[in-house]
């Protein structure tokens, strides 16, 4: 059977962002996939040399439009660790709440995209209907819908009033109730299961060896979640990483479905325990030192490496994003799959190309 190369992307209906794959196919079977990235590189890491370290939070947030808040939070954590700043507990709890809200909307967005990729248009609309509710909560508490802009070095920039807290609590309950109706379909519907079960199986060992992170790794049975490090307020909240053992596309979908309820639970716990007090401390001087901060994005572990030399501009800034860590797994998943399964498999790692290329 002669081999043919089919180009996939950078413009493809299933891809929200540009990534290119050269698919080497034999008949309808993919033999090899060669990815190429670099379509949306913006040089954000270089900008660190030009911007004040306080102002760089806004740029860190703009690395990604979906997991924006956690990017800003990770950057602040790195700077705070270098400068030995003790962030007020209320700020840590608010960061946790907003981080989990961003995870909620990211997972609901992904569920919608997944439904769209398998041709289940009505389910796609319903997922995004629930996401809209999350975005409204985010907008009324932070002021922005996707770029929150509330994190700063030393704390957060906005407080939450008691009325807003009560509103958040009731909204989280409603979101959880509505999300349950949708995840029920993802987990049990025959059409969804036939499309996803047994597709793109990644064994526990392979996932670990390829350095996968986030839901992609947890769906293969490895209980690794950076929130267990206890950053922000996670050390004082109770949760267990969601895992599945099947390692297929449906397991990755199920992990994200269950993480929606985990996030809702974490938000409730954090709001119930929210301490009184200041929301930020004054930060004086410039950072001098080096630090590596790790947090859990909706897509997996993100690593920030920050190097400062005592000037107001940092010397070096480097981000290892979750999608970059999951790309080797994607290449492995695509080997030997059916050509028609490629869009679904590409989506199961939840690719965020803007993050990857920065």
């Amino acid at each position: 059977m002669p081999r043919t190369i089919i180009p996939f992307g950078p413009q493809h209906p299933v891809l929200p962002e540009p990534v290119h794959l050269d698919l080497v196919v034999e008949d309808e079977k993919v033999v090899e996939a060669r990815p190429s990235i670099g379509f949306v590189h913006r040089g954000l890491e270089k900008l660190v040399e030009k911007k004040d370290f306080n102002e760089f939070v806004y740029i860190a947030e703009r690395i990604c439009g979906i997991c924006s808040f956690i990017h800003g939070q990770t950057y602040c954590q790195a700077i705070e660790a270098i400068m030995n700043v003790t962030v007020p507990r209320r700020a840590l709890y608010l960061r946790t709440v907003w981080g989990e809200l961003s995870r909620l909307h990211s997972h609901l967005l992904w569920l919608g995209l997944m439904a769209d990729a398998i041709g289940f248009e009505s389910l796609f609309m319903h997922s995004w209907r629930v996401r809209e509710r999350v975005l409204n909560v985010i907008e009324s508490t932070t002021g922005g819908r996707v770029i929150f802009g509330t994190c700063k070095v030393g704390g957060v920039r906005r407080d939450v009033t008691p009325e807003a807290l009560a509103h958040m609590m009731s909204e989280v309950d409603r979101i959880e109730h509505e999300a349950r109706e949708i995840t029920e379909v993802f987990l049990n519907d025959r059409t969804v299961k036939q499309r996803l079960c047994g597709v793109g199986v990644l064994s526990r060992d392979t996932a670990y060896e390829l350095g996968c992170v986030g839901p992609t790794l947890r769906a293969s049975g490895v209980a690794q979640d950076m929130r267990q490090l206890g950053y922000a307020a996670f050390g004082e909240l109770e949760f267990k990483p969601v895992t599945r053992t099947e390692g297929d596309a449906h397991a990755r979908c199920a992990v994200r479905c269950e993480e929606i309820f985990q996030s809702a639970d974490l938000i409730r716990q954090a709001l119930a325990k929210l301490p009184e007090g200041d929301i930020a401390v004054n930060v004086a001087g410039n950072p001098n030192g080096e630090y590596m901060a790790r947090t859990e994005q909706p897509r997996g572990e993100v690593v920030y490496c920050v190097k400062a030399t005592g000037a107001k501009n940092l010397q070096r800034f480097r981000v290892r994003t979750p999608t970059f860590a999951n790309l080797p797994a994607l290449v492995k998943l695509l080997q030997g799959c059916e050509l028609a399964d490629v869009p679904v498999l590409v989506l199961t790692i939840d690719p965020c190309i803007s993050c990857t290329e920065r």
Partner: protein
């Protein structure tokens, strides 16, 4: 495995009102607390230039001698830093979003 997992949701949607609004006939209602537009009030301003110095994108420019305050709406990211630092509270972020900017010139007050 279920054949009717979606049926409940479909039936519910069939008897309830649409979630979407008929934009632009029905304008979007701004949420309280949203960072929509930066509004400048000239009366209180002392042209101290703090807002322009602290603006992370350089969208604001203040001329102390000519008593002019100007903003490039295309650069402004409505982060609210200027509102926080303004000593005279002459800047405020209102929830409603402004109409789209169509020209590149600065808005001066």
């Amino acid at each position: 495995m279920s054949y009717f997992a979606m049926s409940k949701l479909v039936l519910k949607s069939a008897v309830t009102k649409p979630v979407t609004t008929r934009y632009p006939f029905e304008p979007r209602r701004a949420l309280a607390g949203s960072r929509g537009t930066l509004v400048f009030t000239r009366d209180h301003c002392v042209f101290c230039t703090v807002c322009a110095k602290r603006c992370p994108t350089g969208a604001l420019a203040v001329n102390r001698t000519q008593k002019k305050w100007s903003i490039d709406r295309l650069l402004c990211i409505t982060c609210g830093v200027c509102v926080e630092v303004c000593p005279k509270k002459s800047l405020v972020l209102v929830p409603a979003h402004a109409t789209p900017t169509v020209t590149k010139d600065r808005q001066a007050f």
